[in-house]
Symmetry: C2
Subunit: 232 residues, 2 copies
């Protein structure tokens, strides 16, 4: 029966409500007091349910304004993975390496799908980003994280898969946040730059197999740096 913890029940009702009313992210939800009388529960239960839903980006609570349908983004998933990695790291597991391996699997699989018929517009954008990386490396000695992120997103834009882009971006963000927290070393920027260039070069040549190995090399380089700093 549905009688199993009020707040969970309310959570379900709110989810249903979003579905049956065909609400989209950003649409307003009933106020807390409306939800109270709608489901005939106390304000506490409503608030606990909303808090839980907010934690997974299903609703967006704006103080003094109202509650809205959330973005349904994967941000909370990133938080979860970062925390999880932190916990596991303290128990001696190579959580950062595991994250990297997931990224490698994804991108190695994807690059094979895009190579061959990547639009010129995307190639142009990639060349642009390579240029930006060169400039940044010259000026500040580092490639900015955002440029790297944009590069890895631009690669797969032609697939037109929204979910895929978000998943990729989520793992990218998780990896970088964990690496920051662990204060791991970063690869020499010139090497990174060269790897990126190799990927674009293979794409331009329409060389699918070459693109895949270039991508694998890219990740192999990062992995090696991780292993080296793990030995210290």
């Amino acid at each position: 029966m549905a009688r199993r913890m009020m707040s969970d029940e309310v959570q379900g009702h709110i989810r249903e409500l979003i579905l049956t009313r065909r609400l989209a992210p950003g649409d307003p939800l009933p106020t807390e007091s409306e939800l109270m009388s709608l489901f005939e529960v106390s304000r506490n239960s409503v608030r606990e349910a909303l808090k839980a839903l907010q934690a997974v980006n299903v609703v967006d609570i704006r103080h003094g304004f109202g509650t809205y349908v959330g973005s349904l983004s994967l941000d909370s998933f990133v938080d979860g993975m970062v925390f999880r990695a932190a916990v596991r790291h303290r128990r001696g597991e190579a959580s950062l390496a595991e994250l990297l391996e997931v990224r490698e699997a994804l991108e190695a699989g994807l690059i094979g799908s895009v190579a061959g018929d990547i639009p010129d517009a995307d190639l142009g954008r990639l060349r642009e980003l390579i240029g930006a990386m060169e400039r940044e490396a010259d000026e500040t000695g580092r490639v900015s994280a955002e440029t790297d992120r944009a590069f890895h997103l631009a690669l797969y834009r032609s697939l037109g898969n929204h979910l895929l882009s978000e998943v990729l971006d989520a793992f990218w963000a998780a990896f970088h946040r964990v690496r920051e927290e662990l204060r791991e070393e970063r690869q020499d920027e010139r090497v990174t730059l060269a790897r990126h260039q190799a990927i674009v070069a293979a794409l331009e040549a329409g060389d699918t197999a070459g693109a895949v190995t270039a991508m694998r090399d890219h990740f192999a380089g990062i992995r090696q740096v991780l292993r080296r700093s793990a030995r210290d």
Copy 2:
């Protein structure tokens, strides 16, 4: 500098507490009243924080018993994706196809990593599962979901990457749950079986490229069924 919103602040404190005390999943957390006096906040704020953390599997609340460190599993992530897919589906997006594409990218990338040096033990397990599928197909006309799931997990067991297995399994679960909800058609079981056999055959032969294309064929088959039923 107190963050905004008590419950968020408490959430952070609890996370810190788990990290600094080096707690593992299953370890007990302070009771609600202890947390109240520990952080000097009301019971409501503590409960809202716990509810939010429970929603992402960071804590596990057991009625009448206590609260514990959660499993940190990706279950909530699966729920999130299923809900997200449901919302997007109603807005005309091919959310199921997107999920499948993510799975394909992952597995196509991974199969390339394992092929070549997959342990005999894993190969044996894979053959066993194929046998189970044949039996099921004969007896009930369908391959059970669990066997399929086990197959896709066994493929990458040799990588020894716990996170990877969970991510893979999460997307597997999300895909199947969404497909159930949408009442999509399923592929002919004999075809599925043949695809699985082809993958194992390529692995046994040590044929990396063959394994990758077998995997891609497998997903191409599923994709085709989805497209066909979308045309109806």
